[in-house]
């Protein structure tokens, strides 16, 4: 199975990945074969088997409601491609 060009383009847009026109076809084939491979799972009969989320062996560790972090602006901004004073900056977002 190959994903059609429209679906590939849509997925790329949702993921904000720019595609060259020539890439759409080959990506459609690649993604199609990934789906085919995963679909082998459908061969297993899971009637009456509840969906598994986690192993059921662990419950989450919760944190206490205390302020233990923050005031580390330089760390936080350390990977920013562009900053202005205390802020990250991005190309203007217009609504």
């Amino acid at each position: 199975m190959s994903l059609d060009a429209k679906t590939v383009t849509r997925i790329a847009r949702l993921a904000r990945i720019g595609l060259e026109p020539g890439e759409v076809d080959s990506l459609g084939k690649d993604m199609g074969s990934i789906i085919d491979w995963v679909e082998q799972l459908n061969e297993v009969d899971v009637t009456d088997v509840p969906p598994m989320i986690g192993t059921g062996l662990a419950t989450p560790r919760l944190r206490e409601d205390r302020v233990t972090d923050g005031n580390r602006r330089d760390d936080v901004l350390s990977n920013a491609p562009d900053r202005e004073g205390p802020f990250y900056t991005v190309p203007k977002v217009v609504e």
Binding site: D65, R66, D69, G70, V76, G85, P86
Partner: protein, 485 residues
């Protein structure tokens, strides 16, 4: 009476559901140890988790879970002992990870209900579909630079409760009443401060219209991020009007997200349909499902404060106030507490009249709130006790209250300083009245020939002569006696 909008083809009914985002009161954020407090220097209330650094793992804040459970209990809702966090994927500059951690398939709170009181005295039940926990996003600042937007992540990761109503709302008034009731409950339980100006409570408004009696719903539009109750009510009106015009012109309403512009009183399309929501939710692999114990829920329930409706009913019972008076007195918890301090051990009827009358008027006049009232509850109670034991009369008491507001002195100190004790000496009262009657012989004659209304005139003159300090009952009684002589 049902709310209807009249179009060219007849009457229309509106169908509204609200999604309210309420910021959880907590010290730290939902999944990190950074401060959740409002304000702060830009990007200082931010941990590496909130900033979406690779490899950072979220750890759930237990108090935020407790706050959601408390709120669910306050909404008479189902508490789900099993819930789960999902990733809601979208790209925006103030969302560093590219996804919001939210609860999609398994929210912590299920169906509940809110009873709202309407102006005509009727009550409506508005269903709550669910309440779930999710992260807030950061803040984009667009007006600092011509080509760039600035990003502050202080709010990124702060816990929100999204409270979704059923499409049960049928008028702007009901929408306003629902929001006020929700805010009142949140404030009573202390899970959200309900401050819409600071954005700690905001609403997405889903609006559609249909003909009265029509089955099912027509296409709805969602008006995003409306930040005051008044704007919610206005946006419903203008959006319903817009949709009616489309239907009546033979068109179709498109399902879309819109923005309310209160200056121009219109809604505008916000996102193109092409990018229509496709959030590709999936369970967050960084977080195990949340499983809570019923015994913990029970503990939280036992520790809840008295809720607004229960308090209102109790005030009606214990203090003999009317339903309306009880509603006003329980609108805010602080007002109810103040009232009960005044009314306990005082004449409850007197306490109610004074709270709702002169005391609220004094607050309004001085622009103060109940929290920084110029007169304490104990101070007001003392004033009322001076009325009850006939030390002063009601008219003088008003003067004393004004003095209390101005000087902060106690009622009894003011009464002593100004010599305001009422005169109960019948001899003194009688002599004052005799003077008045002698000076107004013509009016006395008129009174005796049947002009009963003049009685009030004599009372007024007597009180004036006694500088307002006469005991009203004794003045009346003595006047009657002397006039019939």
């Amino acid at each position: 009476m049902s709310y209807r909008i009249t179009g060219n083809t007849g009457e229309w009914e509106i169908v509204v559901g609200l999604e309210v985002h309420a910021q959880v009161i907590s010290q730290a954020k939902l999944f990190s140890g950074a401060s959740a407090s409002y304000g702060g220097e830009p990007n200082t209330h931010v941990s590496l988790i909130d900033a979406g650094f690779p490899g950072m793992l979220p750890v759930l804040n237990q108090e935020c879970v407790a706050q959601a459970v408390r709120t669910g209990l306050g909404l008479n809702a189902q508490i789900n002992l099993f819930s789960r966090f999902d990733r809601k994927n979208y790209f925006y500059a103030d969302l560093p990870t590219g996804y919001q951690i939210s609860q999609f398939a398994h929210p912590i709170v299920g169906e509940g209900k809110v009873l709202v009181d309407l102006a005509d005295g009727s009550t409506r039940e508005i269903g709550v579909t669910r309440l779930h926990l999710e992260q807030d996003a950061g803040k984009s600042i667009h007006d600092q630079d011509p080509t760039r937007s600035f990003i502050d992540l202080n709010r990124a990761g702060v816990a929100l409760m999204e409270i979704v109503s059923e499409p049960d709302i049928r008028s702007p008034e009901e929408a306003g009443a629902y929001l006020r009731k929700l805010r009142q409950i949140l404030r009573y339980i202390d899970t959200c401060d309900g401050n819409m100006e600071e954005g700690s409570m905001r609403a997405d408004v889903n609006v559609s219209v249909r003909k009265p009696g029509e089955e099912g719903y027509r296409t709805r539009c969602e008006i995003k991020n409306v930040n005051s109750i008044r704007y919610v009510m206005q946006s419903i009106e203008v959006e319903a009007q817009r949709q009616i015009e489309i239907w009546e012109a033979g068109g179709e309403v498109d399902q879309e997200t819109r923005l309310f512009d209160h200056v121009r009183s219109e809604t505008r399309s916000l996102r193109s349909k092409e990018d229509a929501h496709d959030y590709r939710y999936f369970p967050d692999p960084d977080l195990l499902p949340l499983i809570i114990e019923q015994s913990w829920v029970d503990e939280l329930e036992a520790a809840l404060p008295e809720l607004p409706e229960a308090k209102r009913d109790r005030l009606e019972r214990e203090y003999g106030v009317s339903r309306y008076e009880a509603s006003v007195l329980t609108a805010e918890q602080a007002v109810a507490d103040f009232y009960e301090t005044v009314a306990k051990g005082a004449d409850a009827r007197l306490a109610t009249n004074w709270m709702l009358g002169d005391f609220f008027a004094a607050l309004n006049r001085t622009g103060r709130s109940i929290e920084d009232s110029p007169v304490s509850a104990e101070g007001l109670r003392e004033l009322l006790s001076l009325i009850s034991d006939s030390t002063i009369n009601g008219k003088i008491a008003k003067e004393v209250l004004e003095d209390m507001v101005e000087t902060g002195e106690s009622a009894s100190a003011i009464v002593e300083r100004k010599g305001l004790r009422q005169v109960t000496d019948t001899g003194a009262i009688e002599s004052s009245i005799r003077d008045i009657l002698a000076a107004n012989a013509d009016k006395v004659a008129e009174f005796k020939s049947g002009k009963d209304k003049l009685f009030g005139f004599f009372v007024g003159q007597t009180m004036k002569a006694m500088k307002g300090k006469g005991n009203p009952a004794l003045v009346n009684e003595t006047l009657k006696k002397l006039l019939s002589e």
